[in-house]
């Protein structure tokens, strides 16, 4: 990143390095949330709708894992993906794919736990109707997920917030390689370590701005589609 510039000048000048860092951050985070949604939404719905031995334990586990320490997840993924680890042959360590995997692991519990709660509440309302209509388990999951989609956006946003602000896991598994695995958060950590606190702070403000912008867009989308439904 250019010497002697502050973060605002970097934005104003459309600094190519900054743009590529922002793009990587968004790509990794959105991919992680997408992966986590694919796993977390059905998992949450299943936990809400099914009864089996050990379910309570699983619910507590999923709720508890919302607080998984990113650095521990990062280390675990590091050891799994390392050339000396069980998945080493894929050569994924120090690549964006490794960062997506680590962040997806952090986000799945958040989406699953919030989905379970949402679906469980909606199920109380829908139970009689769906049972009367003879809808099977898969149909129930689909109906409930679809009808609670606006609430589930909040679950996805919570997962997005977790991934976007996270530095511990992506630093370990990505390696903070310039032009390849350097994200907003690892850049901020790096500039802090170089003692360039104003630049680090400026980048932090940009990151917060991006997170707010995405939340605003999600809110707008929700209002728009609610109007269409109504």
């Amino acid at each position: 990143m250019s010497e002697g510039l502050d973060a605002w000048q970097l934005i104003a000048s459309g600094d190519a390095t900054l743009i590529s860092i922002v793009r990587l951050s968004l790509t990794v985070t959105l991919a992680a949330v997408a992966v986590a949604a694919v796993v977390g939404l059905p998992l949450g719905a299943l936990l809400a709708l099914t009864r089996f031995p050990g379910r309570s334990t699983l619910v507590v586990l999923v709720n508890g894992f919302m607080g998984l320490p990113p650095v521990v997840v990062g280390l675990t993924v590091y050891l799994l993906l390392s050339r000396s680890g069980p998945l080493g042959e894929f050569g994924l360590l120090f690549t964006p794919a490794a960062m997506v995997i680590a962040q997806a692991l952090l986000v799945v519990p958040i989406i699953a736990a919030l989905t379970r709660q949402t679906i469980e509440d909606l199920w109380r309302e829908y139970r009689d109707e769906l049972t009367a209509m003879g809808v099977g388990p898969t149909g129930r999951v689909a109906t409930l997920l679809w009808d609670s989609r606006f609430s589930l956006i909040t679950a996805l946003l919570a997962g997005f917030g977790r991934a976007a602000g996270e530095v511990g896991a992506v630093m370990i598994v990505g390696g903070n390689i310039e032009g390849f695995t350097r994200t907003m958060t690892t850049t901020i950590a790096l500039e802090t370590s170089k003692g360039d606190l104003p630049l680090a702070m400026g980048l932090g403000a940009i990151l917060i701005g991006l997170i707010l912008a995405i939340n605003a867009a999600a809110w707008g989308l929700r209002l728009w589609s609610e109007q269409r439904v109504a």
């Binding site: 694919v38 000396s84 120090f94 964006p96 794919a97 802090t192 370590s193 003692g195």
Partner: protein, 279 residues
């Protein structure tokens, strides 16, 4: 409706994962170099790597860690080349068969940084051992990297040279932070403490506050960097050919010149000395 969306999402994700994984495998012309924070934070890599890439077409991906962690990445086969500064550990790394051969690349020196108020009364001392003894006797605040980095090993060696058994006499004045050089300097700056730094990171560091150089120039502050290819016999995934080309370039007259030319504010930071080859 929902199913179709899910499938689309899954397809997009798998494509993304596959492409980023594939690019990591397919690009033979990139290598991973495990190095230290001092070489990155000082800006040296920003200066020399574009020159190497322009000449060779090989992209160099630097993962900057403490020397201990960088050597561990090499041991696990997660890096192709290791470029660090702790000779004893490097030689052990090669002896154990993890590295092919170690080459001297360059040196810089450590400086003892301290607050302007100089509570240990050591400013300008020519003898680093005397300075360390004085810090301990005065229980002046001292920040230690504590992260098994090359700088941390050097600091422990200096306590030993000063006849101070730091493990036995350490107290609240001795703050082991377990972080990189920049973080250690930030901490020292915030609490007006002494800290051992490599000169390059110090010169590039911007948040100095009341800190300045207290002791420099003692030959015990000499800091040698070495480079080695990770042993492909141990880890077949190591990109031996491009990795060796990077090692060869660093110790070639051209690479050495590039290192010697790097300056901050007119000061040369690293002194190439690859002629004296070691195994």
């Amino acid at each position: 409706m929902l199913n179709r969306r899910l499938f689309t999402a899954i397809a997009v994700i798998l494509t993304f994962l596959a492409s980023s994984g594939a690019s990591a495998n397919a690009q033979e012309q990139s290598i991973v170099v495990a190095s230290t924070t001092s070489t990155r934070d000082s800006g040296l890599f920003d200066h020399i790597l574009p020159l190497f890439t322009a000449k060779s077409g090989i992209e160099v991906r630097v993962v900057a860690q403490g020397t201990g962690q960088a050597l561990d990445a090499g041991r696990r086969g997660d890096a192709d080349v290791v470029f660090v500064h702790a000779r004893a550990q490097e030689e052990k790394f090669v002896e154990q068969g993890f590295g092919v051969r170690r080459f001297d690349v360059m040196y810089n020196d450590f400086v003892l940084i301290g607050p302007r108020s100089d509570p240990a009364g050591i400013k300008g001392s020519p003898d680093i051992a005397v300075a360390f003894t004085s810090i301990q006797r005065n229980k002046a605040a001292f920040v230690s990297r504590g992260d098994k980095s090359g700088t941390h090993f050097a600091e422990l060696g200096l306590w030993k040279a000063a006849g101070v058994d730091i493990a036995a006499v350490r107290g609240p004045w001795y703050k082991e932070i377990g972080q990189g050089m920049g973080a250690a300097l930030n901490t020292a700056s915030a609490m007006d403490a002494y800290v051992l730094s490599d000169r390059a990171t110090w010169l590039a560091f911007k948040n100095r506050g009341e800190l300045e150089i207290a002791v420099e120039g003692d030959k015990r502050l000499f800091n040698q960097y070495g480079v080695m290819l990770v042993n492909p016999a141990r880890h077949p995934s190591v990109k031996a050919e491009p990795g060796q080309r990077f090692v060869d370039w660093l110790i070639s007259p051209e690479g050495q010149q590039a290192i010697g030319e790097y300056k901050i504010d007119g000061q040369q930071l690293f002194f190439p000395n690859a002629e004296q080859k070691r195994s």
